[in-house]
Structures are given as structure tokens and as C-alpha cells.
């Protein structure tokens, strides 16, 4: 039952795309590609939901041999466990809702059918990546996802910024992909696993348990994580993601929630068993730094989509931090909750943009020129914010767009970590608790630092998300003309918002708190250090709401019962502390935001002036783009010029010199020989033949009787000769 279901899940979106592609060959397009693609996604969603019942708790691999090279066989197959099924549901659900939303949002676009075909291909790629049981399959899906994001970010390729953004996304992620590929090769050759399969006998995970080459294992883990750095937009390869906002907003929702960036986190989680303490720590630090860096940048953005983009980067950092700190379940839990509320935020912002955009259509039908209308909005750094995405043009929209407002508010409350009734609180708390638990269990200064970073990021998240809500929906309209034109979106756009809003409540949390359902895979190379500190008083801590007992999971699963007990206690304590602290920082963030942007008790401009250097740092996004432009691009161009000069002067010089020598000496002498000797022989032979032919041809009289004479005379002669002999 599983194989046909998986096949349907994979083939339905692929078929939708294939129909488009085949008709494209015939220079036609299916008139209702939108309905076809949406139906395909809904079918995949249905099958995924059925799988939830069918598969698990026992992992279920299905593998066939793919290529045999010598005695090495590469297999292709599916691996289904609880995490896979949950990912399938998240991907298909978010993708379905994005499809439905796009029917309204993309209405009237000249390449409307193509958009849906790309969405289908995107979903297929991600689903393929999710179910693959081997690194090669994951890599194929990985690159397909990259390709689709390239196509969709550059969907409005007439716009230079979009064309540049898609190239940037593609190239930046490729930097990570190279690392990932090298990592795979290290696993294959250096560690001598000679396979790309992950599970089962002879798979990478069983081989990892027996290898003791920790150095190469760490290097391989970090290199594979490089792929995730690129795909999931971690520092320092995060710069493509904000630019990816040039794509249509539903694409942003899909990229940020379910497909592209989720792939990185999913890959890191899949690679959980090969992580070593050092590679784990690298992952955790990169995640933590990403979380805080992106959050601080988000504070000062005015483009509604960029705020959300940096928010996504920040949240992805959280997930990486969780996985790096050994909180496998927490990371994936946050991935799913974040998928829903971030998709909701993007679709909501899309709804807002759509409301403004309809007004813009009166002025100018072309997306490409939107940014050129209002030069006063061009900020000092030269990057332009389209006016329909600029929060400074918004305000007071809550009365105009009530559904959008309420659903976005729910998502904001969820992402900010408002306690207990929103899913984001539980997942974020699980991460914070996991990190603090690891810190206390191992008595590790690194993890205490990381916990501090994560806590700060949580507070900042609450701050900038409420800033977005206050600027967009509260207060007085800042741009009266645009405000008058704004309107609530049609039902195809609001229905997905409502569905996603419902999913921002903790409706599926029980799956993640059920320890029998989602089990972290073992990490054979990570044990708690011997000098681990255990809090003496395990009764410290807040057994608030009785939840901590259930969720304080000993996710590392130490073999020693005593150690396991200690870890259990550490995590129980940690979760309670983390919960209280996270509630405090979230409340603080919301309060500050309210004071700054709603009550206007403090002026944001004044603060910005006071802390001008810090503000500039945030505003310029830590100068990452400038660094890349100034150092890497310049360096590359300089190097290219150097090589060009080398090519032109030295290599071309050698080639030309050789050519001249050949021409002048060899060619001349050989030419002489050819002309005189070879041609002479040939001409003499020809002349002799010609002269002989001129004589001999007279034999050919053309009269038939001559020939007969010769024939018969010949016969008589031959017979006479034989008789004489």
C-alpha cells in the first residue's frame, strides 16, 4: 500500500508539470493548468494524510538498485518514517494552499499556466528529496529544488532585479552545494563507506557507528552542512534569500515554508547520526549566529516582505541551532510549526500587496516599473522598495482587511512565542529548553552562550514581528490614496489564510510530544563528557502546568541509566527555566514594540540617531553584500583579468610563436617538396597516362563487329595455342 501511495504523491505533481511541458513542445498550453496543478497537489495531500495512518511506527524502506559500477551498486529508494510522513504532509499541505492562493494572486498574469507548472515541479522536487533514502536521491531532489527556485524567483524576469535575484540565489546556493558534494565524496572515498544509501545493512548510518575516524567524519559532516547553509540561507550564505523576495509572493511563501529552505534543515536532520561533537558545535554556532544576525537586520527593514525574509532566516537559524545542540525533535518540530505560520505570514503579506497592487494596476500594468514611481522611497543605499511593499505606506489596514489582519495576527503571536495557545511557543520553547538542557547536562560554556543568543533572538523576533503588525494594520493610514484603494482579497486567497491560521494553533503537537512516534536517531559519536555537571537539586525548577515531565526528553539516549537519569533531570530543569525566560523575553519584545510603534512613547528615529553605528550595521545587513561585492567579486574579476592577460600575452604568444615557426620553416620546406617532387611525380604519371590513352583509345571503334572480330579471333588463337602446347 505504501509504494503506490508514494508513487501517487510523487507522480501527481510531476504529471501536472509534464502535461504542461509536453503541450509546451506543441506551443500550446492547457487552459486550466491552475486547476490541474492544484488538483494534483490535493491528491498528493490526501495520499500523505493516508500515509500518516498507514506508515510508522516502524520505518519502512523500499529500495531498488539503480546503477552498478563495477562492484559498487547505487540504489534508489524511499525511506518512510514518522518524520518523512510529517514532512510530506507539511509540504503537500502548504503547497496546496499556496496553489489555491495563487489562483487569486496570479490572476491575469501573462504566464499564468507556467507559474502553476513550476509550482508543481517545485513540489515534486521537494517531495522527492523528502522520501529519498540515499544521498544521491537527496542530491538530485536538492538540485531540482534549486532549479525550481531559480525559475520561480526569476518568474518576472523582465524585471532586472528579479533576473539578478534568481541568479544570485542559484549561484549562492551552489557554493554550498559544492561543499555538500565534497562531503558526500569524503563519506564515499575517505571514510570508505562505498555507498550512498543511508539506512539498512551496509548503509552509511550503520557504517558510521563503527568508524573511528572522527576528524574526517567531522569534516564530512560540516561540508554536507555547507549545502544546508546555502539552501537554508544560514550565515554567511544567507544573502540570496532576501533578494528572492523579487519572486511572486506565493513563491516566497512556498520557498520559506515548505520547500527550498526546509530542505536544508531536513538534510541536516537526516544527517543527524553522522554528526560528531565538533561538527554539531559548528552547526549550532552557525545557527545561533544566523538567528541573531537576521533578527537584528529585520528590526530596521521597511519592506514587509524583507522583514519576513529575515525572520525566516532567523527561524531557520533556530532550527539549525536545535539540531546542532542535539535537539533533533525540537528542530523538526519548529520546522513544521514555522512552515505553517510563515506560509501564513507570507500569504498574508501577499494579500496586503495584492490589495495595493490592484491600485497600482491603474497606473501601470507592468510590474517592472513599479519601483520607479516614487523616487522619494529610494533609500540611501540604492535598493528600492516597491511602494506596495513599503510598510511606511501602510497603516490602519485592520478595518479594510479584517480577515488578513486577524490571520496575520495569529501567525505573529505564534512566531513571537506567546504562551500556551500558539504552536510557535511550544516548538521554540522546546528548542530553548533543549539547548539549555544540553548546556546544563554537559556543563558546556558553548551551549550557555548559544542559549543566550537564542533567547535574545526570541525577544527581537517578538519585537520586529509586532512592529510589522503595528505599522501595517494599526494607526492611521500614512498614504491616504493607497489606503482608499485597498480592499479585502477574494475568497481563494483568504481561505488558505484561514486554514493556515487554524494550523498555527497547537493542533498537531501531540505527534511531536509522543516519544514513541518521533524518535531521534542515535548519534554514535556524541556522548556527554565525563565531567558533566548535574544540578544537585533536581527539584529546582518550575513544574508549571505539569508539561515538563512529559516533554523533557532525554534525546541523546545515554546507555548508562544513571547518566540517563542525570540527563533527564537536567532537561527537566532546563525546560522549566527556558519556558519562563522565553515568556519574559517575548513579553518584553511585544511591550517595547507596542511602546515604539503604537503608543509612540519612544521615537524609533531618535534611538536610531543615538545608536547610529549600530543602526547602520543593521541597516546595511552587516555589510555582507558589500563584503561579497567588494572582496569576492572584485577578487574574482581581478583574478580573471590576470588570467586573461596571462592568456593573451603568454599563452597566445607561445601559440603564435609556434605557429610562425611552423609556417615559415616547416610549411615552406614541406611545400617545396610537395610542389616539386610529389606533384612532379603525379603530373608525370598523369601525362604518360594521357598520352597512352590517346593512342589506345583508337582501338575502341565503337563498331560492334570489331569487337566480335577480336573476341572470336581471340578464341581461335587461344585454342590454337593450347593445341600447340
Amino acid at each position: 500500500m505504501v509504494v503506490p501511495l508514494i508513487s501517487i504523491i510523487l507522480l501527481a505533481p510531476l504529471a501536472a508539470f509534464t502535461i504542461f511541458a509536453l503541450l509546451g513542445l506543441a506551443k500550446r498550453s492547457f487552459p486550466r493548468q491552475d486547476l490541474l496543478s492544484t488538483a494534483a497537489m490535493l491528491v498528493a495531500l490526501g495520499c500523505s494524510l493516508y500515509l500518516l495512518k498507514e506508515v510508522v511506527p516502524k520505518p519502512d524502506p523500499h529500495t531498488v538498485d539503480w546503477i552498478s559500477l563495477g562492484n559498487i551498486t547505487f540504489s534508489m529508494g524511499f525511506y518512510l518514517d514518522s518524520v518523512t510522513v510529517i514532512m510530506l504532509i507539511v509540504v503537500t499541505l502548504v503547497s496546496s494552499l499556496v496553489h489555491i492562493f495563487s489562483i487569486g494572486y496570479m490572476h491575469g498574469d501573462p504566464r499564468y499556466p507556467r507559474f502553476f507548472a513550476y509550482l508543481s515541479l517545485f513540489s515534486f522536487s521537494m517531495l522527492f528529496l523528502v522520501v529519498s533514502d540515499n544521498l544521491l536521491g537527496i542530491y538530485i531532489g536538492w538540485e531540482l529544488v534549486g532549479l525550481c527556485s531559480y525559475l520561480l524567483i526569476g518568474f518576472w524576469f523582465e524585471k532586472d532585479s528579479a533576473a539578478n535575484a534568481c541568479k544570485k540565489a542559484f549561484l549562492t546556493t551552489r557554493v554550498g552545494d559544492v561543499g555538500m558534494f565534497i562531503g558526500m565524496m569524503i563519506l564515499f572515498w575517505q571514510l570508505d563507506f562505498k555507498t550512498f544509501s543511508l539506512y539498512g545493512e551496509g548503509g552509511i548510518f550503520s557504517a558510521v557507528a563503527t568508524t573511528d575516524d572522527k576528524l574526517w567524519l567531522s569534516i564530512a559532516g560540516i561540508l554536507i552542512f555547507c549545502g544546508a547553509i546555502g539552501k537554508s540561507a544560514q550565515v554567511p550564505l544567507h544573502t540570496w534569500l532576501p533578494d528572492a523576495m523579487e519572486g511572486p509572493t506565493p513563491v516566497s511563501a512556498l520557498i520559506h515554508a515548505a520547500t527550498m529552505v526546509a530542505a536544508g534543515v531536513y538534510l541536516t536532520a537526516r544527517m543527524f547520526p553522522i554528526l560528531t561533537p565538533s561538527s554539531s558545535l559548528v552547526i549550532a554556532y552557525i545557527g545561533g549566529i544566523t538567528a541573531i544576525v537576521a533578527a537584528t537586520i529585520a528590526i530596521v527593514r521597511f519592506d514587509i516582505k524583507r522583514v519576513l525574509a529575515y525572520s525566516t532566516i532567523s527561524q531557520l537559524g533556530y532550527m539549525m541551532l536545535a539540531i546542532g545542540a542535539g535537539s533533533y525533535v525540537a528542530g523538526l518540530f519548529h520546522l513544521t510549526t514555522h512552515a505553517f505560520f510563515k506560509a501564513l505570514l507570507f500569504l498574508g503579506s501577499g494579500s496586503v500587496i495584492h490589495a495595493f497592487h490592484a491600485m497600482h494596476a491603474h497606473h501601470d500594468d507592468d510590474h517592472a516599473d513599479n519601483a520607479e514611481h516614487d523616487h522619494s522611497l529610494v533609500h540611501e543605499h540604492g535598493s528600492e522598495i516597491p511602494p506596495d511593499q513599503d510598510m511606511r505606506n501602510m497603516g490602519g489596514l485592520r478595518r479594510k482587511m479584517p480577515i488578513t489582519f486577524i490571520t496575520m495576527l495569529i501567525a505573529t503571536l505564534s512566531i513571537s512565542g506567546v504562551p500556551f495557545i500558539f504552536s510557535g511557543f511550544w516548538s521554540k520553547d522546546k528548542i530553548l529548553g533543549g539547548v539549555l538542557g544540553r548546556a546544563m547536562e554537559w556543563n558546556s560554556i558553548h551551549h550557555y552562550v548559544l542559549f543566550g543568543i537564542a533567547l535574545c533572538a526570541a525577544g527581537i523576533t517578538a519585537f520586529y514581528m509586532f512592529r510589522l503588525i503595528f505599522m501595517t494594520f494599526f494607526g492611521e493610514p500614512r498614504n491616504q490614496e493607497m489606503h482608499n484603494m485597498a480592499h479585502e482579497s477574494p475568497w481563494v486567497m483568504t481561505v488558505p489564510l484561514i486554514v493556515l491560521a487554524a494550523l498555527s494553533f497547537p493542533v498537531v503537537n501531540h505527534l511531536w510530544f509522543n516519544k514513541d512516534y518521533v524518535k531521534p536517531p542515535p548519534q554514535p559519536h556524541i556522548q556527554a563528557p565525563q565531567h558533566a555537571y548535574v544540578p544537585s537539586d533536581t527539584k529546582i525548577g518550575f513544574t508549571l502546568f505539569g508539561l515538563s515531565e512529559a516533554e523533557a526528553a532525554d534525546e541523546e539516549g545515554g546507555t548508562d541509566t544513571e547518566q540517563s537519569d542525570k540527563a533527564h533531570h537536567a532537561h527537566e530543569v532546563a525546560h522549566n527555566i527556558a519556558m519562563v525566560l522565553s515568556i519574559i523575553v517575548a513579553g518584553l519584545g511585544i511591550l517595547l514594540s507596542w511602546l515604539f510603534y503604537h503608543r509612540r512613547r519612544f521615537s524609533a528615529e531618535a534611538v536610531a540617531t543615538t545608536f547610529r553605528p549600530v543602526y547602520n550595521l543593521f541597516w546595511n545587513k552587516y555589510y555582507f553584500d558589500e563584503f561579497y561585492d567588494g572582496v569576492l567579486v572584485t577578487l574574482t574579476v581581478w583574478k580573471a583579468r590576470l588570467f586573461a592577460k596571462f592568456d593573451l600575452s603568454i599563452i597566445d604568444g607561445i601559440v603564435n610563436g609556434v605557429a610562425t615557426i611552423t609556417q615559415k620553416i616547416f610549411a615552406a620546406s614541406i611545400g617545396f617538396f610537395d610542389n616539386r617532387v610529389v606533384d612532379g611525380i603525379v603530373n608525370r604519371v598523369a601525362e604518360v597516362t594521357w598520352a597512352a590513352g590517346g593512342r589506345i583509345r583508337r582501338i575502341q571503334t565503337g563498331a560492334i563487329q570489331t569487337y566480335l572480330f577480336v573476341v572470336l579471333g581471340g578464341i581461335v588463337l587461344i585454342i590454337l595455342i593450347f593445341r600447340a602446347l
Binding site: I696, Q700, T701, G702, A703, L708, F709
Partner: protein, 110 residues
């Protein structure tokens, strides 16, 4: 009336045919020469059939193997077909060259 009589007659016919083919300056005369040659062949077949293969006695009757005669009949048929095609060719040549003298038809002259 031995075999050698017939063979001598047929070889004389053959030689006369060859002589005609070699010397006559008219395509139809050449055709007549060819007919003579064919007749000499047929005569040879019939003669060999009569004299070389021994007679058999089957069910009290003396039976002659007459395969040679049948070949001769086929030869006559062949001569008829050949004559028809030959004359058609002569007509075509006559139309093309205005003559049926074989020494004037020398397009292949070197």
C-alpha cells in the same frame, strides 16, 4: 547418319552464322546469322539427345530420353523472344541514327 554427321552439319551452320555476324553490313543480316547459330545449337541438342543417351526399355516399350528436344524447344522460344527484342532495338536505332549499318552506330567510339 551418325552423330558426327549431324555435328558437322551443325558446325557448318554455326560457322556460316559467325561469318554473317562478322561481315554483314546490315543489322538484319546479322540477325539472320544469329538465327543460324541458334539453329545449329538446337540441332546439336536434338542430336546429342538422340545418340549419346542410351535407349531404355520400360514395360516392353523402347523409350527415348527427350530432354534435349525439350531444351531445343525452349531454344526456339528463346529465339523468338530474341528476334522480337532485336527487331525492336533495330527500329529504335533506325529512328535514332537513320541507318542500321552496324559500323555507323559508333557512339561508343573512343
Amino acid at each position: 547418319m551418325s552423330l558426327q554427321h549431324y555435328l558437322v552439319i551443325s558446325s557448318i551452320l554455326f560457322t556460316l552464322g559467325i561469318f554473317a555476324v562478322l561481315t554483314r553490313r546490315n543489322a538484319i543480316s546479322i540477325l539472320m546469322g544469329i538465327e543460324l547459330i541458334l539453329n545449329s545449337c538446337n540441332l546439336n541438342f536434338a542430336a546429342f539427345s538422340r545418340f549419346v543417351i542410351p535407349l531404355e526399355e520400360v514395360e516392353g516399350k523402347i523409350i527415348q530420353n527427350i530432354d534435349g528436344q525439350i531444351i531445343a524447344i525452349f531454344g526456339i522460344v528463346l529465339a523468338a523472344a530474341e528476334a522480337a527484342v532485336f527487331l525492336a532495338i533495330i527500329l529504335a536505332i533506325y529512328r535514332e541514327f537513320g541507318s542500321i549499318r552496324p559500323d555507323e552506330v559508333d557512339t561508343l567510339k573512343g
